[in-house]
Amino acid sequence: MKLYNYELSGNCYKLRLLMSFLGVDYETEAIDFYPGQKHKSPDFRQINPLGQLPAIEDNGLVLRDAQAILVYIASKYDADGTWYPAQDPALLGQVMQWLAFADGITATASAARLHDGLYYSHIDVEAARKGAHTLFRILDEHLFFAEDAGQAWICPSDQPTIADIACFPYIMLSEEGGINRMDYPAIRRWCDRFKRIPGFIVMPGIFPAGPAFEKPAA
């Protein structure tokens, strides 16, 4: 499999995470997203006409969209079927619900990060931050009640799902967009649990689990 990759993209990181959790071998092709804007180039639009990262190529299949690729990789390479629980309709529905929620996180928290970090000056950063806080509040409450019911992950399964992967990166990178996570203790505990999943890898801006950075759940 080949991943068209940008190292600082949280959406590309979602795929690197899942492939690491599953032990899938893949190669990467670095796309000069910034400042080169090569994802908008005619060459890259042959791969993804939308001009967006990530995209993959696997045995001749070309796919775009982080969430779609998560579904594909989990379906194809997860023998246990826990990351994408296709056999459990109620659970699967919830996974899809939170995948859509993750797109909202990208549209808000990731946009604020692009504004502050990469100087995308056309983004309305205040609106983006406000939108991210609205979503973080909803997820924090959800995780609070989930923990109360003995559930560690976003969806009611003993194992994490691709919904956890889809939500994780831009929540962890939110401070680069001026979005503080101080007021979301259940999110902070969930992030710490996520970092302890065997096979977890970091990206720039995200640190490994450890007492110095995130306190484990009490």
């Binding site: 670095a30 000069d32 400042p35 090569k38 990469l118 401070e175 001026g178």
Partner: protein, 280 residues
């Protein structure tokens, strides 16, 4: 606090990377808390203005430069940028919520390699910074030489861990550079220059110019590597307290004797640089 430092106002500052500014494009940015507009016409002509009107500007090294005051000197001359056998490209412009002076100091510090860039520019247990030389040259630049560090992945072209030699050079308060060993050459070094745009006293944009030997390198790999490394520094920089660089010699006791940082702070005091610093 707006800038009152003549040495900074009468100098040239990068405000945009041409690679990020398309033809017919417009970019809004900030220098010394003043909004700046940079435009590139359909024919490629660059113009800059602030709220009062047009500003003198120049294009050099692939960046747009402006001088908010009366230019007292020209843009720094960097011969490495004209070498035929190097790629000379920007590494991207990154907004960082910290004083640009803090960025310079971090750039001069080898001690953080094994911790912040673990597996790339350093690795435990090789954490010791061996003694090196620092001087202020006749051209009034700071030069740190004889710096050595073991690096697992010194460059995208590295085939394994090597002993890397560094030379650091502070051109001006907000411009700093380093030479480092290229894994494929005995006699040629790669060169990285940071042009730091002071947006506010606690906020900057870091523009980088990469002058790398072309052998076995591609532009995309080079940018990939630079951004990977810089994004590892960013959260560390943004957690510095205070966000400004303390210039009072008693204000902050360095944890280890960091010679280059001590000389840099003294040099800033002697040049009356206050912007981005806290002064007793």
């Amino acid at each position: 606090m707006l800038c009152n430092d003549r040495i900074l106002l009468d100098d040239w500052h990068v405000v945009a990377d041409l690679d990020h500014l398309s033809k017919g494009g417009i970019e809004k940015t900030v220098l010394f808390e003043q909004p700046i507009t940079v435009t590139r016409s359909d024919t490629g002509v660059i113009a800059c203005s602030d709220t009062t009107g047009p500003l003198p500007c120049q294009v050099k090294y692939g960046f747009v430069w402006i001088c908010p005051g009366t230019p007292g000197r020209d843009i720094v001359h960097i011969p490495e940028a004209f070498d035929e056998d190097r790629y000379v490209i920007s590494g991207g412009s990154f907004g960082v919520q910290v004083s640009g002076l803090r960025v310079v100091e971090n750039f001069l510090d080898m001690g953080h390699f094994p911790f912040v860039h673990a597996g790339w520019l350093g690795e435990e247990p090789h954490t010791e910074v061996r003694p090196y030389q620092v001087e202020v040259t006749r051209d009034d630049e700071i030069l740190a030489t004889e710096c050595y560090f073991h690096q697992p992945v010194a460059s995208p072209t590295a085939k394994g861990g090597i002993e890397v030699q560094y030379t650091y050079r502070v051109y001006r308060s907000y411009s700093v550079a380093l030479y480092k060993t290229n894994p494929l050459f005995d006699d040629r070094m790669d060169y990285i220059v940071l042009f730091i745009q002071p947006v506010g006293p606690e906020k900057c944009v870091v523009h980088s110019m990469l002058c790398y030997m072309k052998r076995e390198m591609t532009r995309a790999r080079l940018r990939w590597f630079m951004q990977l490394i810089f994004a590892q520094d960013k959260p560390i920089l943004e957690n510095q307290i205070p966000r400004r660089l303390p210039l009072d010699p008693r204000a902050e006791t360095p944890i280890r004797a960091d010679k280059a940082a001590i000389v840099y702070r003294r040099w800033l005091r002697e040049h009356n640089v206050h912007y981005g610093a806290t002064v007793a």
